[in-house]
Symmetry: D2
Subunit: 290 residues, 4 copies
């Protein structure tokens, strides 16, 4: 336990620039931070055990798991198994991880480890949506050979990302239509001055847009709908798997469509790390740890 | 049943300008509309029975009840009892009313009448919040002898009204701080560029605002907090009963505080009527009536 | 001359709430302020002479003159002649007045008084335009029985007031078209996301608006054009004399048209006084007086 | 002269993607367009003479000249001299070019050619500023590892680019301070809700910004001022020559500073071409040619 009131020993294991940013921010506040499998980051410990030993809080990346079930540590050659990791965790310590699957969860339970998924928290999702929308604006500005000013844009879906995306596009003087399915979403969209449309019956409108941003994770832009688009319309998909665009149909039809995943970590890694840190701090506060 | 497909007979009983606006909008779409107890409005029927007879949909005001339990009909001298009204309703017709209390509900059940509360629907609440925020801007502009431009404003609460209120104030170039209690509300507030504060610990900040808009229906601005305000700070309470300001303490302390209730009906009655109409139409669509 | 560095004796003669606000703001900064003909305002001197004697700067109202050529002093019964006033001014002092006409100007010259017109300065005009736009929003919200949200609005003219007016209306989620005559104004209007139209050929569009705000001081809305408006369209004229609407034709046609003049002084007198004060201070700085 | 009323023969000689976009837009309207020295663009003529012969309007690029005094034609190997070009121009035709220098001007005069500089027109400058600001937002999003949301930004200068830049940054939820030198610019900046500062006395504030955008073409950020910046502050210079940042001092001090020139042509070439086209059309209209 750290000496000054409220100071902790924190372990940051695996991950990318976001975790490096997070580790640095925790250190800036006076906490003792050990890292491991972060690509030779300054505070990196000699071994996983050394990094975790005595830690009050162990923070794992987002997502925490690779497809092969080991810890996600793209900056390192190490293969770290969750069972090995969890058994080193100090009794009473908190492990925070992003997108926790069933296997990781039961491994934690088996070792009596308190595990929480920061990516499942609402404030994390909203803060991440801000970064996603900003990364999307960057991608759009990069891909479009025309100005956003007065451009006709459609934002499909009015959840977290759709809400912020529509706001940013309108702020940049685009003309924004929001398509949704629920009456309350129409009301919210009108409150902020957007035009509205029914996602279920976009056919007559699709030929009027120069930019379409999808945020709905189900097939909204199928081959038929893609065939109705204006020749130079850019489609950008921000929805997580399975996305909302039929990309092979798009390629066939010559529609420019891009799928932008993981924008926060790619476009604003420092802020993305701070978002994880702030969420972890909220968890610690709620659990009475800090 | 009206002749043209989808056309109905609609009864609008009691209420104010909003109901007159609604009746007129329904007529504009070709429906047959009979009204009663609406102050001699053009389509007014001779009797309650004549107005309700054969109606597919009967629309009652918002709120539907007076404190003495009769139908809310401020433009009329008539005393209309819900039992009398419900027994005239055609079998299978839908009755739509705003803010339905327990007594009205059980009276409807006793008469086998299908009753729905449009004011309880989310899209109604959002659309009404738009009108409330606009009415509040009008009141603020009227009451303040200074410009909103660069003014330091605090919006307490970040629910529907708080969200739209903060947006409108910032749009008018004010400096906006949002106070809330939940981390997700802080995240949303930051997404739109507002400063944020904890509602629970506003004491140190209260002396910095020129305008405070409360949207939280519990005592947020008590005597102690009111005593911390800047001399000319205007407080406006938009929260429904019991409100969030201790008005007698405000009077004692010389703090200018106003409680603005029922803004949609007072400031934008025509739009407020359309909001009710649109909500009723959504209900009818869901029930397969139109 | 006041004792502390930069402190002055200032006289505020005539005017309304704006001058009272200005006097109070100057006092708050430590200056010695004498007033006269301000309706018994706290610091009011016994006589015009006593108020002006020894003053480094004499501030007259906006407009400074009544139609009968005396000082504009609506809060007072006094008839003050400029010749009498100017001859009391200390040698080397600066007199600041708003909307100085030829007679006042030559009277000042005859008495060897340095006179400057604060209302002719650009920063005054811009700051006053902010207050005018805000007052116009208040009037619009008061007059319209419908919501501004999604309302189709036309702003005629894209000078100072037009620019701010369009910004405020769009900020409140209205749909804004700006009409102008110059290509550069079209470019600026598009930069901020407004639709644009030619003021010279509005005929086909006039029937589509619910609100028209004129800022051009020449007859833009004549009888013919007024006859093309939507039934409930509200027209508000912010242009100074001769205005831009044929009001008698409007009355004849049943078009609701209002002419809002002097909004800053009426709607935000305290801020309007500060705007005058800040402008006077800029003048004093440039003249090396403070 | 083309057959259909108002249709012309237009020559587009030299330039880049912008000119290709312009040529294509003119063709889309039915005009006959010949191009030359545009990198084998579809409508490219066999020779300069063939391209210019009979043209009602000859459009040259922006800037029209290379440093060696020939026509600016980066997509072509041709060396085209203005004297050769001007002598082929049909009598009465109009030549439109961007950033016309003295030599080109006198060459045109010597050949009796009517020459106009579209880049000198106000609507061109404003429309180009929109594209510059958008390109700057793209560069900023690309360079910053942190989110713009809540970021402290300084925009130096409040001319065309400064005005739009500040608007876009605030729209993206950044905190924006505008620095300027003129009182009227302060007033305009406040009208839109920005904080303001004196460009002449920024020293105390410079350490508070995370992003600084300069738009003033004179040395505003010298070595001393650069040394006052926050460690990770990004500086972006949008001013034309000589710019406003001491880049070698920045390199020495480890300050990240980038100079973004020619953003419209690089980031939004299609729109940048349309802006030239629209400006040329305004010129033609004013000259009574179309």
């Amino acid at each position: 336990m750290a000496e000054r009131e409220g100071l902790m020993k924190i372990s940051v294991i695996g991950g990318d620039m976001r975790q490096i940013s997070m580790a640095s921010a925790f250190r800036g506040e006076g906490h003792t931070v050990d890292t491991f499998a972060l690509g030779g980051e300054d505070g990196e410990a000699k071994s996983l055990g050394a990094a975790i030993e005595g830690a009050d809080c162990v923070i794992l990346p987002l997502p925490c798991e690779t497809t092969s079930g080991t810890l996600n540590a793209p900056l390192s050659e190490e293969k770290i198994y969750f069972d090995d990791l969890f058994k080193m965790v100090k009794k009473g310590a908190l492990v925070c991880a992003g997108k926790v699957g069933a296997a990781v969860k039961s491994s934690a339970e088996a070792h009596g480890v308190r595990l929480t998924d920061y990516a499942a928290r609402e404030e994390f999702a909203v803060n991440n949506a801000i970064l996603t929308a900003e990364g999307a604006i960057e991608a759009i500005l990069r891909e479009l050979p025309v100005s956003l000013c007065s451009l006709s844009c459609l934002v499909i879906g009015f959840g977290r990302i759709g809400k912020i995306m529509a706001h940013r596009l309108r702020a940049l003087s685009a003309r924004v239509t929001v398509s949704a399915r629920r009456e309350e979403h129409f009301a919210w969209a009108r409150a902020f001055g957007y035009d509205v449309a029914e996602t279920g019956s976009l056919e007559n409108l699709l030929g009027t847009y120069d930019l379409i941003v999808n945020t709905v994770p189900s097939l909204v832009l199928d081959k038929n709908r893609l065939s109705l688009l204006k020749k130079d319309c850019l489609c950008i998909d921000l929805a997580s798997n399975p996305g909302g665009i039929d990309f092979s149909a798009a390629a066939e039809l010559g529609v420019k469509a891009i799928w932008e995943l993981g924008l926060p970590g790619r476009c604003a890694p420092v802020s993305a790390g701070i978002v994880i840190k702030d969420t972890v701090c909220n968890v610690l506060k709620e659990w009475g740890i800090t």
